[in-house]
Structures are given as C-alpha cells and as structure tokens.
Amino acid sequence: MKNTNLKFILIACLVLIASVKSYSQISKVEIIATGLTCSMCSNAINKQLKATVGVDSVSTDLNTNTFLVYFKKDSKVMPRVLKEGVEKAGFFIGSFVITMPVENLKAASDKTISLNGSTFILLNEGPNGSTGETKLKIYDKGYVTQKEYKKLLKMFSKVASYPLENEDDYHIKIII
C-alpha cells in the first residue's frame, strides 16, 4: 500500500516536472510595427503591449518602430495576443521574431512543436545546437507586411497548413 503511494507520488512528480518544462518560456519578442511614423502612434502600441497580461516590460525604438517585449516569469503569452494588441492600437505587424531557449524547440518528426496549446510548424531545418538561445521568425498572415504575405502564399504553396490561416498555428523559420 505504502509502495503504491510512493509510486504515485513519484509519477505525479515526474508528470509535474515534465509539464512545467513543456510550459516553456519565450524570453523575448521583437516586433516591428508598420503604418506609422509619429511618436503618439508608437506610444499607443507601447501602452497596449505593456497592458498585456504576462508582459513584464517593453522597450521601443521610435525611429524604426521596433518594440522589444520582455515577459514575466512563467508567462505563457502567445504571439497572437501581442498581434491583437498592435492591431487594437490601429496598426499592423511587419516583422515578429521570437527569442527562446533551444531546448524548448524539440521538433516532432513532422516538424511541428507544441507550445502552450499552440503549434509551431518549422518551414526550415531545426536548430543546430542543443543549448543556448535561438531566434525564430513568424511568417503567417498578420505577422509580415501584406505585400510580403502575398509572395509567401506562393512560396509556401506546398505547405498544406500555411494558407489555412489558423490563428493558433505559427509557421516559423529558425533564423539564428
């Protein structure tokens, strides 16, 4: 009886550890916003991103409209929430790059990665190393400029899930 209890606790602990690990952390996101040149417009985006639950801080380069978003510990913010924030401010995203630890990018054989209920689909080869940080860029509609998306639709015509525009699927390329 005692033995069963111990086993149960042990399994529970293992499951817990595994699940904690799978709630992996995005360390940083770099967003370039489009359609603006005034600092009041940038401020609208800045305030919107800062008000997002799970966001710790935002630093802004007003000349390039680049927003660096840092997250609170154990935050599970997914790209979609940040995209909606930028659009609520009245603008759009031109580039969206995620920085995260390589160990969280263990791709399954079909090149997909599950993360906090979302699916990341790799458009190129997986990461080279197994430690350190890696950067990945999202290529979905709403994460690149409208012009770029039109070109990408042709480029990725063989990727079945790409034109579906499913909000919780992210098509990514590892850039570093």
């Binding site: 359609g35 401010a89 009245g90 759009f92």
Partner: protein, 269 residues
Amino acid sequence: MRKLSIIFTLFLLQGLAAQELFVVTDPASNVPAGSLGIRLGQSIFKEQMKSGYSYHLMPEVTWGSNKNLMLRTSMFVSNRNSQLVTEGGSLYAKYRFFSTDDLNSHFRLAAFGRYSFNNADIHQETIEIMGHNTGFETGIVATKLIKKVAISSSVSFEKALDNKPNYPFPSTQGDHATNYSLSFGKLMYPKKYTNFKQTNINLMVEFIGQTINENGKSYLDAVPAIQFIIQSQARIDIAYRHELYSSMLRSAPNGIYLNLEYTFFNITK
C-alpha cells in the same frame, strides 16, 4: 492669400504633407481601441455682418470602440447671445473599412456619419452641423501616409434640419450640401526620435469646401496649422481659417482655432 500659396508650394516641394491628426477634418485612421481622448476645442471668428467676434467652445470625448470603430460626442457652446450658452451636441461614428500598411506608410479608407442638434438661430447660408445647424452628415475619407507626410481627402453629404424649437430652416435656402476637403500634414520635428517625451511639431494645411446642392453656392477655405504633440499623449493645435472664395452668405468665415487634447490609453478593454 499669397502667403498661403507660398506655404502650400513649400509643402509640395517637400514631397507633400505631414501627420494626419488634422485640426478641422478627421483622417481615415481611428484612435486606439480602448483609449479615451478628451478635447477642448475653441474658436474665435470675426463677425462679418456685425462688429465683434463669435466664440465657440466645443468639448469632445472620443472613444476607440474597437480597432476599426471610433465614437465621439461633442457639445456646442457659444457666446452668440452675449453670454456662453450650450446650444447643442453631436454624435459621430467612423468605421475604418480598408487598410493597407507597409513600413512607415499606410493607405486607409473610412466611412463616417454624424448627427447634431442645435437650438441657435440660423444666420447664414453655410450648412455647418458642427455648432450651427441641426442635421446630419455622412461621407468617406481616404488617408495616405508616406514617411513623415500625410495626405487626406474626404467627400460628404450634409443635410440641415430645423433648429428646434424656435428656428425652422429657412425655406429660401438650400438645405443640403456636398462637402470636400484636402489636407496635408508633415512632421517637422524631431528629425530623429530619442524618446516618448520629445515634443513633436507638425505643420499642416487643409482646404475645406462646400457647395449647396440646390443652387451651386460655394465656399473654399484654407486652414494652415501648427500642432504640438507633448509627451506622445497630449496635443495642442493652433490654426487660422481663411476664406479663399465664397458665393454664399457666411456670418464669420475667418478666425482662429485653439484645440487642446489629451489621450488616456487603455481605459476600456
């Protein structure tokens, strides 16, 4: 007039206009969703048919309902009867239905509608539901932003109704009009941003026209303006409105605007 054309030519030479937070017209872009803008608009116009000045005070509240819809309510106060009297109010909605953005540029289209009521006496042929007539207006606006320059143009239909309870719209005047506007704005300062606290300076010029549909009577005004954006959150506009041409009876076409505005971000979800 000559000065105005020089200013306008300078704008053209610089590759065309500025930022799009215009003084008289509204661009196709909306205020951020969930934000609340409080504006205190004031204007002093010189009376043409009698001595003195007409003063109008126009407090406004603007709310970004969602990323495409903006709502605004305005109140009209004036000194026409020698003391400040609240004469009416207005409701305004604008819906952005098209937007194509690229790095540092955008092209947007929006449709808008406004309903105003006013109880003041009707003393001119010009139809102006912003502080003079009861009535409604509906139209579309297109705005193009290219780097530091914004160009915006609008066309609308405006219809005047009776200024109830005491002043029915004169049957001798045309009660509906076509309005058009062309606005240019340019960000002049800073050349390079360092932080949100920097004051931005925009120069603008707007051309505002109206034709009464029934009889073809028209006017065209030019409105040069300077605008200061303070701490990326507050706004001061100083503008001068000047009649370039008119074939209709207008009580006070020339004057000055002074608008103060403050935006509260993320007030509602």
